[in-house]
């Protein structure tokens, strides 16, 4: 073997080995982060965290019951607006869309999808908070819904268009009208994928902080209804972590762990649903 060939062989082994190192580093980052978060979160979380209201700044103890309920309120609102609108828009894009208009909608959905979440926050502030003169769960819900709509629309469209054309033709040949074909054949055939997309979408907006900062705001107490400033877990984590109190840092870890576990569970559940599905492949 000449020297040059030996060099080429060595280079090949070294470079390919390095790519392996890159992959391991990427996965290691995930596990280090998860491990450290769960380690710190587990030490910090207690029963009070789920049941008590926050204490005044600097005092030890208290919990985030108001933020947990608030997050639930905001996400519920966003889901109620975002999922149906996104789903129907997805049906349009996949089944009824012509050329020009569908292209335009698709383009705008992708554009909206790429808008930084803080800019969505500005939008919701301008359309909801400014007219109402107060931060509210409603404004937060609208902000998150604006993020959820394009995600749901595009994933619904994607999974519905991957339903084989022959299924549609079969139903139409039996005399079903188009909407009946969609409702009884296409949507059921794609429902796993559609559900997965929806779960992933909700999981994504559940962790969003930036659009809530000046829409739902913050509240030291339970918010009474949807038109009051409302605390939420992500905003609470941000405020607790950046405050100068030791005990608040502990609560930030606890809240971070709770939020992360919820989001990751939703993600894993969604992937399991999809991987069990036979009718629709991604």
């Amino acid at each position: 073997m000449t020297l040059r060939n030996r060099w080429r062989k060595t280079l090949s082994t070294v470079m390919l080995g390095l790519t392996g190192v890159c992959a391991v580093v990427a996965v290691a980052i995930l596990f280090l982060m998860l491990g450290y978060l769960v380690y710190n979160g587990w030490r910090s979380v207690d029963w009070d965290f789920f049941t008590k209201l926050p204490k005044a700044p600097g005092e030890t103890g208290g919990g985030m019951a108001n933020a947990i309920v608030g997050s639930f309120q905001i996400i519920l609102l966003a889901t109620l607006i975002g999922l149906p609108v996104g789903f129907m828009a997805g049906i349009y894009l996949s089944e009824f869309g012509g050329k020009t208009f569908a292209f335009l909608v698709r383009y705008m959905a992708d554009l909206l999808n790429g808008v930084p979440s803080i800019v969505i926050g500005i939008f919701a502030y301008a359309v909801v908070v400014v007219p109402m003169h107060v931060n509210s769960a409603l404004a937060g819900g609208v902000a998150l819904a604006v993020m959820l709509i394009p995600i749901t629309a595009r994933s619904t469209e994607q999974f519905m268009s991957s339903v084989p054309q022959t299924l549609r033709e079969g139903a139409l040949a039996l005399g079903a009208s188009k909407w009946k074909t969609i409702a009884t054949v296409v949507v059921p055939a794609a429902y796993r994928g559609i559900a997965t997309g929806m779960i992933l979408g909700v999981a994504r907006i559940a962790g969003e902080t930036a659009p809530l900062l000046f829409t739902s705001g913050n509240n030291a107490y339970m918010s009474s209804g949807f038109t009051q400033p409302t605390a939420s877990l992500p905003v609470m984590i941000f405020l607790r972590a950046t405050a100068p109190y030791e005990d608040w840092h502990r609560q930030a870890w606890a809240a971070g762990m709770v939020l992360l576990l919820l989001v990751l569970l939703a993600n894993i559940a969604a992937r399991l649903i999809l991987s069990r599905g036979i009718a629709v492949q991604k």
Partner: protein
Amino acid sequence: MATSAAVSAPPPSGAGALLQRLRNGDEVARLITLAFASSILLVTVGLIYQLWTTSALPRQKFGFGFLTSSMWNPVSGQFGALPFIYGTVITSVIALLIAVPLGVGAAIFLSELAPPRISSTFTFFIELLAAIPSVIYGVLALFTLVPLMRDYVEPFLKKPLGFLPIFSGPVFGFGYLTAGVILAFMTLPFIISISREALLEVPTEQREAALALGATRWESTWQAVVPYARLGIFGSIFLGLARALGETMAVTMVIGNDPGIHASLFAPGYTIAAVIANEFSEATGDLYLQSLVALGLVLFLLTIVINAMARLLIIATTRRGSANP
């Protein structure tokens, strides 16, 4: 029955036709879904309209000078976007410098070398990394990365390289470099998963031909496979860049919040998203608030352009291989 009548009868004209189609139900369904689809259009146009009208004051007062002024003084009513644009670009560039080699390397391993089982397991974990909320990256960065950078990484870099302006000055832990590192972690999953898909699209013949010519495994990968998938890889990088530019919470927590322009990467700075997050709810006076909205508009335009480029590149690779551009 109505359906078969509609099929066999010659299409009636005018109002009769519309009525016929409405009775069928299909037209109703089409119109309902069309209305929902239009709402996406409406929201996007509304968003652009709001950003434009709510940033009218600084546009009138400063014009393009808004973009080039480095003065940010709410007390004297001076607002310039340059320190924030600078911070946004610098942190994103640092993020890409770290994430691109790491991400493309990992993608090569996952698509070319790893057995399918390992590849799919790793990809699963890496995609989970993308699902972690930004504020959680922020907490981790604030409590672990900042002390780590301050006590070890930055002094380590400063000792041999301190003569360079970018590695000079006092170390705080909070600053461009720390923000760049956390952004690298956040963009990594996008780069890996999309580059991997682009590499998997490369036909096997491409590899076999190179190997048959006597290339080593690495030469075949680097000279035959990677160039073939380059558009998809560039697309993934642009997508990662768009994410990094608009990322808010994690950066806000570690950037140091200083509206100045510093050559040193160790120095605290500010990004567009971070300044909006920190100052929006406390902004007093219309000019201050609208200047922040104008910053939002700048960020919006920046990400649109980058996203559009990413999408074009990714579409170009999935339609046909990029071997003959």
